[in-house]
Symmetry: D2
Subunit: 339 residues, 4 copies
Amino acid sequence: MPDTLGIGIIGAGRIGKIHAGNIARFIPRARLEGIADINLDGQQETWAGELGARIVSRDPADLLGDPAIQAVVICSSTDTHADLAMAAARAGKHIFCEKPIDLTVSKVKAALEAVRQGGVKFQIGFNRRFDHNFRRIRELTLAGEIGEVQIVRISSRDPAAPPPAYVAVSGGIFIDMMIHDFDMARFQAGSEITEVYAAGAVLIDPEIGRAGDVDTAIVTLRFANGALGIIDNSRKAVYGYDQRVEVFGSAGAAAAENDLPNTVKLSNAAGITGEKPLYFFLERYKGAFIDEMGAFTEAVLEDKVVPVSGEDGLADLYAALAAGKSLKEKRPVAIEEIQ
Amino acid sequence: MPDTLGIGIIGAGRIGKIHAGNIARFIPRARLEGIADINLDGQQETWAGELGARIVSRDPADLLGDPAIQAVVICSSTDTHADLAMAAARAGKHIFCEKPIDLTVSKVKAALEAVRQGGVKFQIGFNRRFDHNFRRIRELTLAGEIGEVQIVRISSRDPAAPPPAYVAVSGGIFIDMMIHDFDMARFQAGSEITEVYAAGAVLIDPEIGRAGDVDTAIVTLRFANGALGIIDNSRKAVYGYDQRVEVFGSAGAAAAENDLPNTVKLSNAAGITGEKPLYFFLERYKGAFIDEMGAFTEAVLEDKVVPVSGEDGLADLYAALAAGKSLKEKRPVAIEEIQ
Amino acid sequence: MPDTLGIGIIGAGRIGKIHAGNIARFIPRARLEGIADINLDGQQETWAGELGARIVSRDPADLLGDPAIQAVVICSSTDTHADLAMAAARAGKHIFCEKPIDLTVSKVKAALEAVRQGGVKFQIGFNRRFDHNFRRIRELTLAGEIGEVQIVRISSRDPAAPPPAYVAVSGGIFIDMMIHDFDMARFQAGSEITEVYAAGAVLIDPEIGRAGDVDTAIVTLRFANGALGIIDNSRKAVYGYDQRVEVFGSAGAAAAENDLPNTVKLSNAAGITGEKPLYFFLERYKGAFIDEMGAFTEAVLEDKVVPVSGEDGLADLYAALAAGKSLKEKRPVAIEEIQ
Amino acid sequence: MPDTLGIGIIGAGRIGKIHAGNIARFIPRARLEGIADINLDGQQETWAGELGARIVSRDPADLLGDPAIQAVVICSSTDTHADLAMAAARAGKHIFCEKPIDLTVSKVKAALEAVRQGGVKFQIGFNRRFDHNFRRIRELTLAGEIGEVQIVRISSRDPAAPPPAYVAVSGGIFIDMMIHDFDMARFQAGSEITEVYAAGAVLIDPEIGRAGDVDTAIVTLRFANGALGIIDNSRKAVYGYDQRVEVFGSAGAAAAENDLPNTVKLSNAAGITGEKPLYFFLERYKGAFIDEMGAFTEAVLEDKVVPVSGEDGLADLYAALAAGKSLKEKRPVAIEEIQ
């Protein structure tokens, strides 16, 4: 393995651009070698050139076939993730894959099998595990400061509802949005989810209801270690992106508040007013996007276990599917019903 | 109706003493006329004398028969509440009754019927509605600051688990502890609970499990107005009494943090450390106990609707019973199944 | 000494009423025996009767001559404090005296001498030492948590400027307002002030300037133990009564924030807004007024040293006078120049 | 003027490296063209090469003579700033100069004169003006939210005292450390300092006293617009870098708290503990270093006024010298005494 990792980006949309820029600027041990996007346009070509990408192409195969590229970052549309992951694994490329791997269990399993056979690393883009706040909570738990984990409580609310057209193809709130929280819950509990109960409602946009989804959801979790969990999701918090986690245990509790753009408080006749949370995930998880890529680079170069595995991605998908089933059937659903 | 309200206290235990002291010192329009406790001892007699009680007795009938007493405060053991309320109603005395009215729906209904026939006021001691924090949230909601309520989120955790012997006769966590939170949830949602789903676990004290109860519980609520709710209870938070409420709506959210004994933060090499919450309900709800009694006095003297009615007490009991059934049957339970 | 302390109140204005009410309701070991006010009116008479005062009079001598009264609380106008204290001392009554003892050093010294000869206790009403926040800071310092005190920083701002007519007879901002902060500074430093430098300005109300005073002031302090101090005063903080103290030392720092009426934060598109501080001293120092009287009662009954002595009052006056001189002469002034 | 700005770095120490890295990675409109350091070593050469610097030299003249370089960043030792600035101005290069320009008024004036004659931009590295918190306070003031500024209050404390050897050549606490706060005070007040009074003490390290300096200082300011200011400095806050600013005015107050590495609070039997502030200036002002360079680049490319001018640097130096004189002569010192 060389000193630095040659990386190719597949998919130059919003998140692909974030990863490419981070690799070029912030990951000293990684090199941005190429960028491929099937819909590559002139603006993207210029951008890729400025970042110093050697290969700029419409065909991901150009990256998979390049010997200077040891790893790919899959940021294309969700329905291509599994196929690209399988192709990359066959080409012997290590893989960083955006979440979700796929919306169906069978394709995820096929991708995991290909990865296994290819003997490559496979990390899923659950970036929130790398958030400075949530990572700190986990560190405190691992340091024994919280004792035995008893309750994991997550509030996760978006600043604005997506267009109903997006909702219709998103896989629904549990796969599209809450899957991050299922991953966070498993991460913080240090245990697998065994059962979920989902309550949901359409309180924000009736169009979301007509698209067959809910926009407000509360899910109760049971973990293998006996702990309980709660997640609440809303598609629209008017005060901005609300991302809070609390872990409560036998020896204490650790809770993270939102990140704010600054610490200033204005005191006047109306009260004491501080800033709203950082607007959305690009702002809030800016550092987490860098750190997850740094961890992936490190794991490949040092042949270490990746911090968020394909099995994690599968487990999170199980939880999301179980939540969907619970909502539909109005009863708690055991994860093993889904497996 | 006279200018001030003559009140008799039935039951001179911990909470009876609080109410008696508050009436004597903080409710200008109320007079403490008498105190009755079937187990009255010398210490209590001295205390009652110092407070200026004219009647100090072992027999509640001495209060119910006294013409200078217009209202009684029932603070005796739970199993006597309903009978005493019925006797008081028959005697034409207005009633402030500690929660719960009774553990069974039929006795609560009988008490409510007696109250109706007696034409007296009947207020239940759900003191938390009068807490400065929670009341402020409700005011903000009523002022339209939060818009339509979508999620009510309550964390309610005690500083230490009760003895298993107490747990065995308490009616269980939902009736003994979470009933306060059901009342708070209804109060904050401004709507009735229609369905509950309860998850519970024994994570703190196996003896509680052997007594047939859980010590950690999460309950999901549905309200008639479409909103969702979550309550988490723990019998033991090592950092103290954790009482937080958040109401999230279409136009904003209002959240109350715990009250602390002081605002001091100590900064040193270990971090920035502030105080733990006020220890337990006597400290935290000190002002609420006064304010609920003031509101009761006002309601009687001015012939106004009491702020927490017997019907509230019944609705809270339904929710608690439904939660118990949900936990046992591992499914969501509609309130109408209980009614 | 009897089990409880018989107390007479001299002066039934705002602060006298506070003390009388506190003694009657909150100080179990004190009895309110009498109230005297040279301008006693019918409203005050009714109030005194309701509180159970045995003596209600226009003549303080009626209290000083009563054998059931062991202590008096002097709450009359400032210009009468010293004379009443001397008369009380001669009558062998213990004395709680509102601040300041007098505006001149000579009268304060005469009062202290009378107290010494009378062998009575003499406590000054610097109530802020009993504030839950500021007391906690001092406890942390005494417990060694802060190490050697290096900087004491006090912000003390009123919610609204007094009428210029009041300012004209108040003795000026240093004696009328900042004297509390000098006392707090000495209390927190655990050391005497040796030098002050005062900067002042008229920024709020030109009338205050025409009355010969300033409405905004910053004073730098030197303490005998080497520590430095800063106090800032403003006559008008539009967001309310701002009372903050920070003690910084070799091992850490302790800082108190304002008390708020509740902990609720409203999150909406405008930001995250919490309450303004408690309005003014009656609200903020409600508990401190009770605790100082409790401490006085205890000191007399148990023959202990009073927590705020006449010598404290004199030292605070020195600092205030030195600050006035510093402002006038535009130079730092040593306390010994005043003594 | 070209689309992007070619920049050369003079001085490759700690701060020079920060600026070089920021230009290379974060300022899209700037190009890092060269790096010169009279003590250039191999490690620095490698680093400069990795950043893509075209010129890597021991002689600043190599940068000043290069036509592709339009601006230089002076990060060498303080005693070389003025001479390099003059040479750069003569060479027609725009200048970003680290603070202070020089320790003497005459050399600063000479440098400003050369800049004037050269017709180049000259920005001083008072990075704190670009801090997200302090900038926000200023924005609120400019938006009228605070009304007329009445008090500017700054606490500025370092996490650890510098070695006494450094102190001896630093120019003293006012020029070395508090000069940042004088600049912040002028920035926030929107007005010039007219008078200072300094109190200082040696409370942390006697060696600092033996080097003729103080390690703890409080300075009172008067501004031309009538406002007052307070700055406190300590060379050692055991809890870390303490950087807080409060602006108090006729319509409100805005206050910035420290930045923390994360928002997590740990609740346990010891209290509620959060993180210490970010360790030191490299961490705390990371974004400010980027933003000041971006603003400089913008000012040059768009021929706009630089946000922190040489005149600002001179005014800050006046304040620092006046504070030193005040401390020595134990009296308030007017700025015009220094000019």
